[in-house]
Amino acid sequence: MDGSESKIMSEVAKGDLSAFREIVERYQNPLLNYIHRYTGDKATAEDIAQEVFLRVFKTAKEYRPLSSFKTWLFKIATNFCLNELRDNKIHRNTIGIFELNEAGFVALAEKRLSPLRELENQELSSTLKKSLQSLPENQRVALLLHKYSGFSYGEISQMMNCSLSAVESLIHRARQSLRKQLTPYL
């Protein structure tokens, strides 16, 4: 646990906006990237990240420095992604596996032979984003938390309220699914 963060959070709990700004500045990049990769849309991700930070401010008094602040913050974000986002039916740029295969892969396979490497990288990045979007929500969350946010399986199991073996299975199935979709690149 980071002592400085629990100190900052105790100031936030008193309503100190400058302490809150410090939290926002420290965590906006990893949080936004996590939500952006989940939703696939930057504007939506910024809206949700704002909601998450607002919730941090509202619930600052409930924060107990038993686990790291980052874990607590990402748990709020994960709950938001898994529950509220689904309930509120916020628009997300999702694309089905079938759609991706039909629309993208022939062209992408051809692009792979192109000398325009930059274009290829852009296409790959776009395909990856779409492939991530096509994953079931639980798999996507577990994979993103591990791959891009650096959480261990144990931390992810805490955040998602599930067992270690469930996290392992979610991550493995997500990768298997991505492997099928990204075959032209492997």
Binding site: G15, L17, F20, R21, V24, E25, Q28, N29, L32, N33, H36, R37, K42, E46, A49, Q50, F53, L54, F57, K58, N121, L124, S125, L128, K129, L132, H146, K147, Y148, S152, Y153, E168, S169, I171, H172, R175, Q176, L178, R179, L182, Y185, L186
Partner: protein, 142 residues
């Protein structure tokens, strides 16, 4: 084959260093002996490497000020609600009960008469339309 299936199920945890040392060694040994599983492991590693292709995004310039503004607006609103609106509403309710239910207002200061009547769903003020309706459907005389 059964061993291969079990090993493959655990390849992600193996790659992520999430397995105990003993189990890890078992998988390492198997991968040295089984080209098919080694191929599977290699393709998962390639997927992981490909995922680095998604670049990090920076928040827009307005993100921090907009977030702080939103939170400070909420803070102001909650202050107004907690320190002005709620006490004003409580005072209004008390004044209302004083005018319309003076005896209850004096005898039961902790609860407003309206709240007291409506504490449970079927507890309506006597002679109210709801109370008459409930009495009628229960076959009681009004």
């Amino acid at each position: 084959m059964r061993e291969c299936k079990e090993i493959r199920e655990r390849l992600s945890a193996f790659i992520d260093n999430e397995l105990p040392a003993r189990e890890r060694r078992l998988i390492e040994d198997h991968l040295h002996e089984c080209p098919a599983c080694a191929q599977e492991e290699s393709s998962i590693r390639k997927v992981i490497a490909l995922m680095d292709g998604i670049p990090n995004e920076s928040p827009s310039r307005s993100f921090t000020p907009a977030t702080i503004h939103r939170v400070s607006s909420w803070k102001r609103c909650s202050y107004v609600k907690g320190h002005i609106l709620m006490p004003a509403l409580a005072a209004l309710r008390w004044a209302f009960s004083l005018v319309f239910y003076p005896s209850e207002a004096n005898s039961d200061r902790g609860r407003t008469p309206v709240n007291a009547y409506l504490q449970s769903f079927d507890d309506f003020p006597p002679e109210s339309i709801s109370s008459i309706y409930i009495s009628l459907i229960e076959g009681k005389s009004v």
